[in-house]
């Protein structure tokens, strides 16, 4: 399993270096090619997951780890799809700057996915940076992390909304204003 991951990491490394070097004069075909690479990582993550399910030693831990990898890659691919869609829209509207920005987002998605496949998640990528830690008096910012996009925060906001909805007059409760403060 590790060897399979490593070979992907090496190739995706090449692709990422390629993205950095091509300067990407907004090439729709090349962007679709990047998307194909990204989507193929989903299938690879699912191979890791199915291998983990058959693990004789510790299937539970292996599946948990594989699920984490898979979810991370799914998120990166979703971001890549959004970026590709935004890029195509920008090209259609003649918005060169928007197209280049979307293309950058696509490159970031590929970097994230390749990192995740090798076990480096966006939240931990910055902390693995080499350097003299004793000089640091703050946590390095993680440029790939969008906290508002994390599943945990989404769930949290969803639960807040759910609580608000159920308490409102539209939900099952009587609503904040209609509910009696004291039962009389």
């Amino acid at each position: 399993m590790k060897a399979i991951q490593l070979k992907y990491v090496a190739v995706i490394g090449l692709l990422v270096l390629g993205l950095a070097n091509h300067s990407f004069a907004v090439d729709a075909a090349e962007a679709a090619g990047v998307m194909a690479d990204l989507e193929s990582l989903v299938a690879q993550a699912k191979v890791i997951l199915s291998d983990a399910a058959l693990d004789d030693v510790d299937a539970v831990a292996a599946v948990a780890k594989a699920n984490e990898i898979s979810a991370g890659i799914d998120a990166a691919v979703a971001a890549g799809r959004d970026a590709l869609s935004a890029m195509e829209q920008a090209i259609a509207n003649g918005d060169a700057e928007g197209a280049e920005s979307a293309e950058d987002d696509l490159a970031v998605a590929l970097r994230q996915a390749s990192g995740i496949l090798s076990g480096i998640f966006p939240a931990t990528a910055a902390t693995t940076d080499s350097g003299d830690d004793s000089e640091k008096d703050y946590d390095s910012p993680n440029i790939y992390d969008n906290p508002w996009e994390s599943q945990g925060l989404r769930d949290y906001y969803q639960s807040l909304f759910g609580a608000f909805e159920s308490a409102s007059s539209n939900g099952q409760g009587k609503g904040f204003g209609d509910q009696d403060a004291t039962p009389e």
């Binding site: 190739v11 270096l17 075909a29 989507e39 193929s40």
Partner: protein, 181 residues
């Protein structure tokens, strides 16, 4: 090829590609395409080995197994994706061979892109094969707790494989349009 030797080769290619990239952008495009093709070849070889093992394991499944119809369905998907993987790998190799023989940098870049997307299709198809064979293994070796996970993995991998194919076709169409005009 031994997996570890393969990984070593890939890493060496990566380092080499990075070190010479600035001066030789064209050769790096070729390197990327060749690395993608090499990965696809390796993954397809892994899938072939898993098919061989799967053939042995299928005989262990009792004929009255309630999962036999699902195994057949999996094997059908495996068969289709195996065919797709092999054909795409051939396409990738053909495109990769044409990179060196063309004098135009732009045309070489397009062949490299075609080699890469065909490799991606071959890789994802081979991945579907591996997951299908994992299902066969789970049934044959009586690991029912794995079945749901592998079923879900198969569904997602099939969807991903279809997306890879869709993007590959998009690349082919865009390149065709470029030379048609």
């Amino acid at each position: 090829m031994n997996k570890y030797r393969f990984v070593g080769l890939m890493v060496a290619l990566l380092v080499f590609s990075g070190s010479v990239r600035n001066g030789f952008a064209q050769s790096s495009i070729t390197d990327e395409a060749l690395a993608s093709v090499a990965t696809a070849e390796s993954v397809v070889a892994d899938a072939k080995a898993s098919i061989k093992r799967g053939k042995e394991l299928v005989s262990l499944i009792p004929e009255d197994s309630p999962l036999l119809s699902e195994v057949r369905q999996m094997l059908k998907e495996v068969s289709m994706n195996w065919k797709l993987a092999v054909e795409s790998l051939e396409g990738a190799n053909l495109s990769a061979a044409k990179i060196a023989s063309t004098s135009s940098e732009e045309l070489a870049g397009d062949y490299a892109l075609l080699a890469k997307v065909n490799s991606a299709v071959a890789t994802s198809g081979a991945n579907v094969v591996q997951i299908g064979m994992a299902y066969v293994e789970a049934v044959a070796l009586n690991k029912p707790e794995s079945l749901d996970i592998i079923r879900g993995a198969m569904q997602d991998a099939l969807a991903a494989s279809a997306q890879v194919k869709f993007n590959c076709d998009k690349v082919k169409n865009l390149i065709s349009e470029k030379y048609a005009n």
